[in-house]
Symmetry: C2
Subunit: 197 residues, 2 copies
DNA sequence: TTTTGTTGATTGATCAGTCAATTAAAAATA
DNA sequence: TATTTTTAATTGACTGATCAATCAACAAAA
């Protein structure tokens, strides 16, 4: 039953299946056959469209990054003040879309895989740099550059750390509490600066 | 050349080899043969002493936890005040012994693997609980219980997050800067409480 | 001679990746 | 319009490689 123009649909289905498979199993050790099966096609077709497995994984990671990027841009659009920009960046990362258990597991698995795969590593650095610069754009008007750098680093670490903890314990930090934890850090730092300059 | 009493030596050598192999390769996807080879024995011997591979991994994780636990106890012994207890816990985690790239990679890999293995998961929770309670013992005399809980959660997330970032970028957060980042958070929080109770 | 240490060889399972073959839609040709 | 040809979609069957795990056999210490 070959319909024409299936390629984009299949690619998307395969990438989605990759995320959900990795998310459910909590590891990148998933077979192409399982992913393909979940997407409703044969493993041969997955290889037909993506070539080696590694490429499917890379495409999946790009999708995750693209989703996060889109959400971030959209959130920043609504931020009027620098402080709001910082909040927007924080909120996006604990969004319903990003902070799903499935997605969190996938991120974590990719972090590990990035240790071996230069390309995945590069993709992750793109994400890290983007996060950093988004945070800096909000922080620089609020404090000195060294302090802003330090805060951006801490916020990024808090986000990553809360992801890990979310993956480990079953959902202990929910989106709201995770967000408030990071916001609380930002407030504490800014207040201290206001009180004792 | 079978000397007697080799078992403990071989076990230790195999566990050490497991850590360094995982650390270097950055993944738990290492073969028993490679680990055994690094320990200077055959893969058959590894199975002889540990049975299935999973058990070797568990033993390795227990070793990592035990090392961290030992370091922590020793660091806490020298802490006179509650605030010093908090510092001691933080410092230990970014210790030369714990924060080696090899160890960091191994921890990260185990975090991922814990998603599938109930036993590894349980071991990680032991670590998390111990960290939490150690932090609380220092924080409770300094602030209210809810605030202490929140701070302990944030400190733990910061530690985990800095580990991840260490694994990703090549060594950006060195022990000293990682420590000072977390200490800075603690100071900011405590000062805020002192200023506006 | 019993126990402990040790390994080479082997087995069985799992998987990524390939390929030839099949179907049907689309395009070209008559 | 009717046909032939090309192209896209799809898979089952297969191959080759990798590895965990086993086992029989051997060496040396007790």
């Amino acid at each position: 039953m070959p319909k024409i123009g299936m390629e984009p649909l299949r690619r998307k289905a395969l990438i989605d299946a990759t995320i959900s498979t990795i998310g459910e199993r909590g590891t990148l050790n998933v077979t192409v056959a399982e992913i393909a099966g979940r997407a409703g096609v044969s493993s041969a077709l997955a290889h037909h469209y993506f070539g080696p497995k590694e490429e499917l994984l890379q495409a999946t990671m790009r999708q995750l990054l693209a989703d996060l990027g889109r959400d971030t841009v959209s959130a920043l659009r609504g931020a009027a003040t620098p402080r709001e920009r910082v909040s927007a960046v924080i909120t996006v990362n604990f969004n319903a879309g990003q902070f799903r258990e499935e997605t969190v597991h996938a991120w974590l698995a990719f972090y590990v895989e990035a240790q071996n795969s230069p390309l995945l590593r590069r993709l992750l650095r793109v994400y890290a740099r983007r996060l950093h610069s988004n945070l800096m754009s909000g922080l620089l008007p609020l404090t000195s550059r060294p302090e802003a750098e330090r805060m951006a680093e801490a916020i990024a670490a808090l986000i990553d750390g809360l992801y890990i903890r979310r993956a480990l314990r079953d959902g202990l930090p929910n989106p709201a509490s995770a967000t408030s934890l990071v916001e609380d850090y930002v407030d504490a730092k800014l207040e201290r600066q206001a009180n004792a300059p």
